[in-house]
Symmetry: C2
Subunit: 409 residues, 2 copies
């Protein structure tokens, strides 16, 4: 049994678990809000706490460029820098190097690329990406991988997957060598901050079974089931406390995404956490949890919110729609979030139509509340052995949705 | 003694008072955050409550164009529309018609103008501006005035002031005739919401000595002391429960602003509230309170915040400055606001430099906290008879400020 992850209940393939990090326990299945530049866009950290987020994701590539991982290390690490004392997962930068940067040169050693901000030349490798994430002090560090593009021929996908596998070994070696350098271990007087909510609950110290970072491996292999299987086997052989399925949600049809997840999951250890990167819609996060995925992240709820697309128990709606102009009712009558409790559709429409900053703030708060609440329902349904009922409900709401569609990029 | 306003303490010319509105008491001298389009840009209403704001300002001109005052009336008025159950003051639209709109034609009847948004033709007059503010349901309604431009010849300033005086009579007549039509009087089941803070304090009902709107008159007269005096006398003769000094902070030198305020105040009733429109810096709001001004509003703290200019007990600072990049200390060590309690200068600089929405949110929260706290100190100093000491302190900090200067527009 793993120190890092415990499965508390099962329902079919789905698992209700706990991930133990140096910054507290994370109840799984979990959706991780994306805080690219050490901020979940528009939302103060105190609000994320109120929403019940136990773990967020930050992007190494972006922080590497701004303000610089060394700057954050000197300031005591990412938790202290952004004043977030719960868990943080950082990606390795691999995905952004391949999707955002210009003029990249991929070699066995690593990737040379130009910043999308100012064209400056940078280099990321298994060693430097790991060093960056140790400097940030993330609770969960991701191995540096090559994100195979879609479409890719089998041969190309194999070569890419094999390099990712070789890089995984280098990441692990580098991580083992330097993990003691995590900034929050060395900050004198560092204390876990206790939120007032926790203090009231008498829970003055977050349970911390792990006092060090965790490095997760990443499975690649494009859209080829045989390569996915081989990637899983090779990565598991290297040995990590958790595994991610990467290289999906990069433009392939959704049915293919699901096929690849289904082709990969059986080859991952049953007692370790499984993280599906970059997924998905409210419906999808329930579907993948049902397949046995424990962790997910996606920019969809936060990005859609900034575009006025709001998830509700009755489907997705575009708040700019004229029919909301005189609608004094709450955004989602079944939602108990702060936004639905206080503001009307008419007001949210007015803010969005007027391009007011508060639109992004409130819309993001609601969409995150909706996602986090969906996962709360998933966890509860697994405990009660009723996940099928939740799945049926989610699928029927999804059909009702007037404005479906995947968020671009 | 006025039902609307009570002076509780004096210190020199300064007064510590209470303004009684239909949506609660307002402790004066007060600074009113500006919520142009029914939102103080970037800040949720629950945060404004936490900051202790007892009254905010909204702009009739902007709401008249978007979403329309009739829409807001149908939704139960501005308080319900924006979910703000404390006091609201609306300006009359006069200032914006003169500063923002195109192709305006000013006649005795009113002003025809084109929207700055889409060029559509609109008309505002003493009657329609009053009707708009009754539809909004503001607690304090401002008379429709002509904001005399600067510079203006004496003759031009006189003509403008005289029209404002004639318009004041029409506003009062129209207001008396229609004040019963305020939307929150007619909403069945309408209840004053009680904040959790108030509930804890056992103060479950806000004291409401007035259950109707208040109409304030506005003094004009450009930068001519004789016209200011005459405007005050004529406006007081019409008779209002409060008086504003308008037409200042429109580009004239600050010494002239102060001269005009000093020329006007002695001609306003000592037992009624005095509102200086569009002022000012942290130093100025203390100075004008010391002269006997009870209410002020200004976009400065909120607009400056969005430009990364932050007010602190040691002066103004530009957060983008490179010297803050490694500064793990709080923005203002003497400030007890939520932002200073939690976030570092380095983090705030990072957010601002990265153009993150959270920069505007947190910066605005801090600047408003600083202004509201400054006014809290003013009120306490008046009660203790120590306003001179506060003035000296504020003046010395102002000299230390590295980046002074008036916010443009």
């Amino acid at each position: 049994m793993s120190d890092v992850f415990q499965v508390k209940a099962r329902c079919g393939a789905a698992r209700r678990g706990k991930l133990h990090t140096a910054h507290g326990e994370v109840a799984t299945p979990v959706f991780m809000p994306v805080g690219t530049l050490a901020t979940v866009k528009g939302v103060p950290q105190e609000t994320l706490e109120d929403l019940g987020a136990e773990i967020i994701l930050a992007n190494t590539y972006h922080l590497f460029l701004r303000p610089g991982t060394e700057t954050i290390r000197k300031l005591g690490g990412l938790h202290r820098f952004m004043s977030w004392e719960r868990a943080i997962l950082t990606d390795s930068g691999g995905y952004q190097v391949f999707s955002l940067s210009d003029l990249r040169k991929v070699r066995e050693e690593g990737v040379e690329f130009r910043s999308h901000l100012d064209g400056a030349l940078h280099f990321l490798s298994p060693e430097t990406a790991t060093a960056a994430q140790i400097a940030l002090g993330a609770d969960v560090v991701m191995a540096f991988d090559e994100c195979t593009e879609y479409p890719a021929q089998h041969e190309q996908a194999r070569a890419s997957m094999e390099m990712t596998a070789r890089w995984a070994e280098r990441c692990k070696r580098s991580f083992e060598e330097h993990r003691g350098e995590v900034p929050w271990r060395n900050v004198s007087g560092f204390k876990f901050q206790v939120s007032s909510e926790e203090a009231q609950a008498g829970n003055v110290k977050r349970e911390t079974r792990n006092d060090s970072q965790l490095l997760f491996g990443i499975i690649q292999g494009g859209v080829y089931a045989d390569l996915r299987r081989e990637s899983a086997e090779r990565t598991v052989k290297v040995g990590f406390p958790g595994y991610a399925i990467g290289g999906l949600s990069v433009g392939e049809p959704r049915t293919l995404t699901r096929e690849m997840v289904e082709a990969t999951l059986p080859h991952l250890p049953a007692d370790q956490p499984r993280y599906l990167m970059g997924v998905g819609t409210p419906e999808e996060i329930v579907e993948y949890a049902a397949l046995g995925v424990d962790m997910m992240d996606c920019v969809l709820p936060t990005r859609a919110a900034r575009h006025g697309l709001l998830y509700t128990s009755e489907g997705k709606l575009a708040i700019k729609n004229a029919r909301f102009a005189q609608d004094g009712g709450p955004l989602d009558p079944r939602c108990s979030c702060q936004v639905c409790a206080r503001y009307s559709r008419a007001y949210l429409r007015h803010l969005y139509s007027s391009n007011e900053t508060l639109a992004a703030v409130l819309n993001t708060m609601h969409n995150l509340a909706f996602y986090l609440d969906t996962m709360r329902q998933v966890r509860q349904s697994i405990e009660l052995g009723r996940l099928e009922a939740l799945l049926s409900e989610v699928r029927s709401h999804s059909l009702n949705s007037s404005a479906r569609g995947r968020d671009p990029a």
